[in-house]
């Protein structure tokens, strides 16, 4: 364990975090130098991220959503968004898109400072979000990138039908794989895919252990702010890569150690001051004020024990694992099962289950202005969960990467009111 103390005012990170940071930086470097290395560059989305498949074609892999959030964390996204708006994009639309387009307008310098090449292939994994379609159409229009659509149908009835699975598999066979072959020049080898998928499963097992460790009291992890780092490798360019498997092994051992020592989560300022409130959070985090937002939680002794955002790139804690014995079907099921592709009743069920299994005191919804997929209808989620669990829910509003939509005072006020509300309720029950 790192022993950097808070007194030195340095940010505390675990070993796993450093590993993860290294992986991300290395990947950005690979992407930046792909042309020289004679590699092609692919871009796809986190929900429906077919990383194992893309690796079969030796693509250097970009995920524009993570570029946007990395730029947000580094406070660069604000300018990018304004550049995009000046270029004609509406103030009402997704700020990930605008951040990406703005970044491209200024030479596409990535979050690590290296300029990134335009993708050779846009794998438009149309999973759980309408905006994805327009995002890649916009990039294609401006920069002439080859695009292939993978339509992942929505689970309107709360289940995956054979027709839905067959549709996705057929598209993979007839459109996605041939296009990848043509662009990369690499022939598809299904056994290679199987190997990657087997590797993925090892990582998935450990990720689930880590996420479910929050069922302990105190929780050794923060299942939202902390989980953002944990899901990184799984949801991005590293699922199926040995480095990621190693990362999750290290991570799990760190978490196991914390459980044994009865410790709470690590925060940027050191060990968590002490678990007073256990929350489930629905909705993506804010990236531009990520640390400040997190601090509002641990300053009050709040730990997030489970979140829905940590399932946006795949739901693994309800049993799904990549299945190498039926690779394409399994990839289809993976895509179809991502959180934002679940219907409303399923989302509410998941939240209620988390509230129960993780012994939460309440639900917090972080409603993101940019993201209609998550946000439209969250007020109903709030009331339904309150109704079904009898526990209080709170509602704050912010955005993904547009700093103009994060008002610390407003959010702090609402959070503090919420925590005090829970505290008062507890005292009333005890009396």
């Amino acid at each position: 364990m790192n022993t950097k103390t808070a007194a030195k005012k340095e940010v505390v990170k675990e070993d796993a975090m450093w590993l993860q940071k290294e992986m991300i930086n290395r990947n950005y470097h690979e992407v930046a130098t792909a042309r020289e290395a004679g590699r092609k560059v692919s871009a796809t989305f986190v929900p429906g991220n077919l990383n194992e498949l893309l690796m079969c074609f030796d693509f250097a892999r970009r995920l524009p959503e993570t570029d946007a959030l990395q730029n947000g964390l580094r406070k660069k996204s604000g300018k990018m968004i304004m550049d995009a708006e000046r270029d004609g994009h509406s103030e009402d639309v997704c700020t990930y898109v605008k951040s990406d387009l703005g970044m491209m307008l200024q030479g596409q310098v990535g979050p690590t400072g290296e300029p990134m090449p335009h993708p050779d292939l846009l794998l438009l994994s149309y999973t759980g979000c309408f905006t994805f379609m327009k995002w890649f159409e916009l990039v294609r229009q401006k920069y002439d990138c080859e695009t292939v659509m993978l339509h992942v149908p929505y689970q309107g009835d709360g289940k995956i039908s054979p027709a839905m699975r067959d549709y996705v598999v057929k598209q993979l066979k007839e459109k996605v794989i041939p296009t990848c072959e043509r662009i990369s020049g690499v022939k598809f080898d299904i056994d290679r895919l199987r190997e990657y998928m087997k590797e993925s499963v090892k990582a998935e097992e450990n990720l689930v252990r880590v996420l479910q460790s929050a069922k302990h009291r105190p929780s050794p992890i923060d299942g939202y702010f902390g989980a953002v780092y944990y899901i990184g490798p799984m949801f991005t360019a590293f699922r199926g890569v040995a480095d990621a498997t190693r990362y999750y092994e290290v991570l799990w051992s760190e978490v196991e150690a914390r459980i044994k020592e009865g410790k709470g989560p690590v925060t940027p300022e050191g060990d968590h001051p002490g678990e007073k409130y256990r929350l489930v959070v629905e909705g993506p985090p804010n990236w531009t004020s990520f640390r400040d937002f997190w601090k509002m939680f641990y300053d009050e002794g709040a730990v997030v024990v489970a979140s829905t955002y940590s399932k946006v790139g795949g739901v693994y804690d309800f049993g799904f694992r990549h299945d190498a014995s039926r690779p394409l079907e399994s990839l289809a099921e993976y895509c179809l099962g991502c959180y934002t592709n679940l219907n409303f009743p399923q989302r509410i069920d998941m939240i209620c289950r988390y509230m129960d299994e993780y012994q939460a005191d309440g639900l917090l919804i972080n409603s993101i202005k940019s993201c209609n997929s998550f946000s439209a209808g969250q007020l109903l989620i709030l009331r339904e969960v309150e109704k079904r669990t009898g526990k209080p829910a709170a509602f704050v509003e912010s955005d993904l990467v547009d700093p103009r939509y994060f008002s610390a005072a407003n959010i702090k006020n609402r959070l503090e009111s919420y925590f005090q509300m829970i505290k008062q309720k507890r005292m009333a029950v005890a009396a």
């Binding site: 159409e137 659509m149 409303f344 409603s367 439209a376 209808g377």
Partner: protein, 388 residues
């Protein structure tokens, strides 16, 4: 019936948020059901073939105060879902036995799930339209989706939908589509004879009337208005696009015309004109509907354009075939499909030197002055500076 009578009837139907026309139809067809559908497109033929009335739901418009509906949505989401919920919660949609939510955007998508929770006794289906245009892939998925819908409606109505039923309904809607094409062609030819503020009402009547009746009404309107001598103006001819889901208030359409424009094409009621020509009666009916949608349908933001070159092609064709001089891009506030698409379309229009202007509205926009100003200036600029 004079043209004024026709328009008055259509206006009454349009303003009636109690959906009396639907109630009357149900009373006249005891036991028959009515199924609502939201924008942009569903194959209404299937509902019709099940012996049911398809009812287009376009929100509550500017006359509906939204009080309960606002409890479900934050301020940065468009108005149509909240006014639709308002209609539902105030009992105005009780005459509907089910609702279809096509895949248009995430807001409507999520609304389908909310509807399942809020109105547990109603049939609800999210209708996923294909984004892959191969008959054997996207087509197969789409046919399966339609088969599922057929099966669900059969269960509700307790009677089988035969291929003949489907073909009969396709024929009915083919005729309706033809009538609408005639209407659009007529308007483009003589826009002063068919002001869009009237044409719009005639189109909206198609949301609540049985298609057979609507077809007659459309042709009646064309016939009657052609008899009248209506004053011609020196207006700019424009295509109005982007208003395919949440509808602008009637006052906004009137304001655009008052400001000096003839709207010679639009996408207000895409459901009625999504399929560009007749659906074949020769083959398997669901197969025919699938092929028509995959290969012979309009372009709109919620449909993926497979090739980069395809983007904007439909819009440019509209401009060309209708002899339009410019494009007005009118999008509902917060509308992801319209607003994300807009920069691409405007770029293409610019490349082809088609003048355009763009603004946003809400279904209950009350301030028309800024729109009149902007549209008026646009119309003037077209007349002053475009090549004759």
């Amino acid at each position: 019936m004079s043209v004024q009578d026709i328009v008055k009837r259509c206006e009454t139907l349009f303003e009636d948020l109690e959906f009396n026309a639907v109630k009357q139809w149900k009373a006249a067809h005891p036991g028959a059901k009515a199924i609502g559908y939201m924008p942009i497109y569903v194959p209404r033929e299937i509902v019709h073939a099940a012996g049911m009335l398809p009812v287009g739901i376009f929100g509550g418009g500017d006359q509906l105060e939204v009080i309960q509906g606002d409890a479900y949505y934050q301020s940065y989401i468009c108005r149509i879902p909240r006014s639709t919920i308002e209609l539902g919660l105030t009992g105005k949609l009780d005459c509907l036995d089910g609702m279809l939510f096509p895949s248009i955007c995430d807001v409507i998508r999520n609304l389908s799930g909310m509807w399942q929770i809020m109105f547990k006794d109603k049939y609800v289906k999210y209708f996923d339209l294909p984004q892959n245009y191969d008959d054997s892939t996207g087509g197969a998925f789409y046919v399966h989706e339609m088969q599922t819908l057929c099966g669900d409606l059969e269960k509700i109505s307790n009677r089988k939908i035969t291929d003949d039923d489907l073909r009969r309904s396709i024929a009915v809607y083919n005729e309706n589509r033809r009538a609408i094409r005639e209407l659009y062609a007529y308007r483009a030819q003589k826009p002063w004879q068919a002001p869009t503020s009237e044409v719009y009402l005639v189109l909206r009547a198609g949301a609540v009337l049985p298609p057979e009746e609507h077809t007659v009404l459309v042709r009646q309107y064309i016939g009657e208005t052609d008899k009248e001598k209506r004053p011609q103006r020196d207006n700019a001819r424009v295509v109005l696009t982007g208003s395919f889901c949440e509808q602008p208030p009637l006052g906004l359409i009137k304001s655009i015309e008052m400001a000096g424009c003839y709207v010679v094409d639009d996408d207000f009621q895409l459901c009625q004109s999504m399929l560009l020509d007749d659906v074949s009666l020769e083959k398997d009916p669901l197969q025919a509907l699938s092929e028509a949608f995959l290969h012979r349908s309009a372009q709109t933001s919620s449909k993926y354009d497979e090739k980069k070159e395809d983007k904007g092609r439909h819009l440019l064709r509209q401009v060309k075939t209708r002899g339009a001089e410019g494009v007005i891009f009118a999008a509902a506030s917060f509308c992801d499909p319209a607003l994300l698409e807009r920069p691409m379309l405007l770029e293409i229009l610019a490349k082809h030197k088609v003048p355009y202007t763009a603004f946003k509205y809400a279904e209950n926009t009350g301030q028309m002055a800024p729109i009149r100003e902007q549209t008026g200036t646009f119309a003037d600029s077209i007349k002053l500076w475009s090549a004759a």
